[in-house]
């Protein structure tokens, strides 16, 4: 296994499962399960035990490995120099499991759906652009930017609304962009983190070839997960594109005066998406959008930026739902944290977070007290009528 030589260096001290100030545990699966085996150190020790033949690939072990949200909190807070590789190690162990052929059924189903249908929803590619049916969005044809929407933005009800709002804003600002529609392949970020490196390679190469063929140089992504794959993983396959998350584009457009948000009175709090924040190093762009909307009062949750608690959707959990469920699932804890701020809107910058947190609000019975809006949607609402 890749990185196997690092495993024994974990002291199982547990710094990785905290926030920086130690006020809270911040590894999402640890928050839910509370066995040390579900904390990063537990994973390190168990992976080593598995490779040494001391434990087997059981259902429990699969649950332990696949409940990791790849949120990167441990990378941020582990006390040791190998911390940079922690998420890579957990992904490598999943790869090993995939290669061995015994993986959790929802993960297997996810790979199958992507292989056969090109998306996890088992829906036809033809529906990929239906979200844009009522919008003057053009197919990509040499425009300045490719707007890469991704599977969640294309098929998920919640994601589609965000894709629409983001497009409206791009159109208002006069950005030259087009979409791939039914030609758009999955970006493969979740395929990779779930351990199917072969399928990821195929998707990356397919995307890169298509982008090249179409002459794409600049990409705006809706989903921070695609943002991550394009920026960090595609260069290894020769895919060197200028990649921006839509929040970065809007932040720049606002700064340059090309987008002038209108009034929108609301007390809001902001949830950092792991693949934009901890993995992408971008904490300010979405906040810049919020700060620029007159009437918006931004109150931070105690755990923000590098200390934000993941919604529990990362690492493929959005699709496999291993981390969902009970009262201490990360998304439910996160909405309680949002509620503590007194905010009425929980703002996100990722369609996966939007869905996870919206479901959590329902499960917590907080309907009417807290709603979820994407930063793109809030900007869209503020711009309506302007």
């Amino acid at each position: 296994m890749k990185y196997a030589e690092i495993l024994h260096r974990c002291f199982r001290c547990g710094y990785c499962k905290f926030t920086l100030d130690y006020e809270n545990f911040n590894c999402p699966p640890y928050r839910k399960y509370r066995f040390d085996t579900f904390a990063p150190g537990g994973r390190m020790w168990l992976i080593r035990a598995w490779l040494n033949g001391e434990i087997e690939n059981s259902e429990r072990f699969q649950e332990i490995l696949y409940s990791c949200a790849t949120c990167g909190n441990c990378v941020e807070h582990c006390a040791f120099t190998f911390r940079e590789n922690l998420v890579d190690i957990f992904i490598a162990a999943r790869e090993e499991m995939v290669n061995g052929g015994r993986i959790p059924p929802p993960v297997r189903d996810y790979f199958k759906a992507i292989s056969i249908h090109g998306n996890p929803y088992n829906l036809p590619a033809a529906q990929r652009s239906s979200w844009a049916a009522d919008l003057p969005v053009q197919p990509y044809d040499g425009q300045e930017y490719l707007f890469y929407v991704g599977c969640v933005g294309s098929y998920d009800e919640r994601g589609r609304k965000i894709a629409q709002a983001v497009s409206r804003n791009l159109i208002r600002a006069g950005v030259s962009f087009g979409i791939l529609g039914e030609r758009e392949p999955c970006d493969g970020n979740e395929v990779r983190v779930l351990g199917e490196s072969g399928l990821f390679e195929y998707l990356a190469e397919t995307n890169i070839a298509l982008f090249r063929q179409l002459g794409v140089r600049k990409i705006i992504t809706l989903d921070p997960h695609a943002f991550n794959a394009f920026r960090k993983e595609y260069p290894a396959f020769g895919g060197d594109f200028e990649v921006l998350h839509y929040s970065q584009v809007f932040s720049r457009l606002i700064e340059s005066g090309n987008l002038k948000p209108g009034n929108f009175a609301a007390r809001v709090t902001f949830h950092d998406a792991c693949y934009l924040g901890r993995h992408g190093g971008e904490y300010e762009a979405p906040r810049n959008i919020l700060r620029a909307i007159p009437g918006v009062e931004l109150v931070e949750m105690r755990q923000n930026r590098a200390n934000a608690l993941c919604c529990g959707g990362g690492g493929g959990n959005f699709f496999t739902d291993i981390l969902g469920g009970e009262g201490d699932s990360p998304s439910r804890i996160r909405v309680r944290q949002a509620l503590e701020t007194g905010a009425e809107i929980l703002v996100v910058s990722c369609p996966q977070c939007a869905k996870m947190l919206e479901d959590a609000i329902k499960a917590e019975g907080l309907d009417g007290r807290l709603t979820v809006a994407d930063a793109g949607e809030l900007l869209d609402a503020s711009l309506r009528g302007h």
């Binding site: 002291f11 001290c13 547990g14 710094y15 100030d21 040390d36 006390a79």
Partner: protein, 460 residues
């Protein structure tokens, strides 16, 4: 076995019981060097009532029960020597109260030292507790259980001396309060002026009961904190230096470190002096007093203050000090363990020389650290070795070095701190037989079935 799992699930809920190979593997060992032994079950209780029910079940079924915090004591104290149930206490992590005026906090039996530290920083910036340098996950209850030491130990004694009350589930399942909290809801004293019953539990490693609440004394937190380092190349001067420094009553904490690597530290003993103040004048005065206290050593050229760079200051002022943990990776091997006997401070030179000798004999990377206890009545001297977890030979050499260090410490009048089972046995054998018999009677009276962390303080 299945029926026990069901009974436990009936108490704490199914998600919080495991008899799976994964938990049995992980909870069957700690980061130290003691041999592993798997539990049969791992259980995560959330309330006192759940613990009482688990203890009663264990009593009925004669199942061993081992409470565990973060498992950071390293000497095998949470390894279930005879299987049974490991009770991971960390779901009980509330901070139940802070009495600002009387300066104490009451925490649950699994609350981490990191969480208490953060809570005080945030809500009570004028209060602090004696934060140990163990990883932040280490629990307050376990830390006092093993007579830990922290940043205020130089001033106030062992962290267990700072306990201000206990709530304990006895091996019978009964709930018992110790100290002023037995009479009222005030947790200001663990015993005095009544008989101090806390000694029936503290230092027993859970073998006489499970701490479900701990009252811990808090102390003034000054606005400023700084650190200076005095170095000397001879261990023989260290006790005298410590005597002068503690005489000033100006230091917050006094630690010593000596290590061969990196080379800038080689050959010297570094006496790290922390001090605090509420104003620049107070800091200046304390610093001057501490400096003057060592004039004699400076004049005779037996030592001097070194310049402490900003980076080093930051590392030293960190609480808990993460660098204490990262020592484990010096050999890129993830392992570190120490024998940390409590010895009179005049034994520093002997301990230091012994450590040098052991490092050569067993070919190990080492680190000496010491923390002064209660203005110099004693010190914890850590014979620390870092090892590569993947190198079986090195593991063995480290075990031998540690064992030899402990034996040596005992031979020069030291006491084992958080002793391994072997060290406990050696201590009981060396002890005044009447004292050992008293311990045996206490254990038998409280835990007649011998189910509580069995193996510990046994064999008398």
């Amino acid at each position: 076995m299945e029926s026990i799992v069901q009974a436990l699930a009936g108490i704490v809920g199914k998600p919080y019981v495991s008899a799976s190979a994964e938990e049995r593997y992980f909870y069957g060992r700690d980061p130290g060097l003691m041999p592993a032994h798997a539990p049969d079950y791992v259980v995560l209780p959330r309330s006192v009532e759940e613990i009482q029910a688990i203890v009663r079940l264990a009593g009925r079924e004669k199942i061993p029960l081992v409470p565990m915090g973060a498992g950071m004591s390293l000497s095998g104290l949470v390894i279930p020597q005879r299987g049974g149930i490991v009770l991971d206490m960390k779901r009980m992590d509330g901070i139940l109260k802070v009495n600002e005026a009387a300066r104490y906090a009451v925490v649950e039996g699994g609350t981490s030292t990191g969480k208490l530290h953060a809570h005080l920083n945030r809500y009570y910036p004028r209060l602090r507790f004696s934060t140990p340098d163990s990883p932040a996950a280490a629990t307050v209850a376990a830390n006092v259980m093993i007579h830990g030491q922290g940043r205020l130990t130089q001033q106030q004694g062992f962290n267990s001396d700072m306990v201000s009350g206990l709530e304990v589930v006895l091996p019978s399942g009964e709930l018992c309060r110790i100290g002023s909290c037995a009479l009222s809801d005030d947790w200001f004293s663990k015993g005095p002026p009544l008989p101090d019953l806390s000694g029936l539990f503290l230092g027993w490693f859970g073998a006489t009961g499970i701490l479900t609440k701990v009252g811990i004394k808090l102390y003034p937190r000054k606005k400023m904190r700084d650190v200076e380092i005095f170095i000397t190349d001879s261990p023989d001067f260290v006790p005298g230096i410590l005597y002068e420094l503690t005489h000033t009553e100006m230091a917050e904490d006094i630690n010593i470190f000596a290590q061969p690597l990196p080379l800038i530290f080689s050959g010297n003993h570094h006496i790290v002096i922390y001090f605090t103040g509420d104003s620049a004048e107070e800091m200046e005065f304390k610093k001057r007093t501490l400096f003057h206290a060592l004039d004699g050593f400076i004049k005779s050229k037996d030592g001097g203050f070194m310049t402490v760079g900003e980076g080093m200051k930051k590392t030293l002022l960190d609480m808990p000090q993460r660098s204490a943990t990262t020592f484990a990776d010096v050999t890129k091997g993830g392992g570190f363990e120490y024998s940390g006997p409590i010895v009179p401070i005049d034994r520093y030179p002997q301990c230091s020389r012994k450590l040098d000798e052991l490092a050569v004999k067993y070919d190990l990377k080492y680190h000496a650290t010491a923390r002064i206890i209660d203005k110099g009545h004693a010190m914890m001297f850590a014979f620390s070795f870092t090892f590569n977890r993947a190198d079986a030979d090195m593991l063995n050499r480290t075990r031998m070095a540690l064992s030899e260090a402990s034996e040596y410490a005992l031979s020069i009048g030291g006491l084992f701190w958080k002793p391994t089972l072997d060290e406990q046995r050696i201590a009981l054998e060396k002890m005044d037989p009447q004292t050992a018999r008293l311990m045996k009677r206490i254990k038998e009276e409280l835990d007649p079935q011998g189910i509580m962390n069995p193996g510990n303080w046994e064999g008398i």
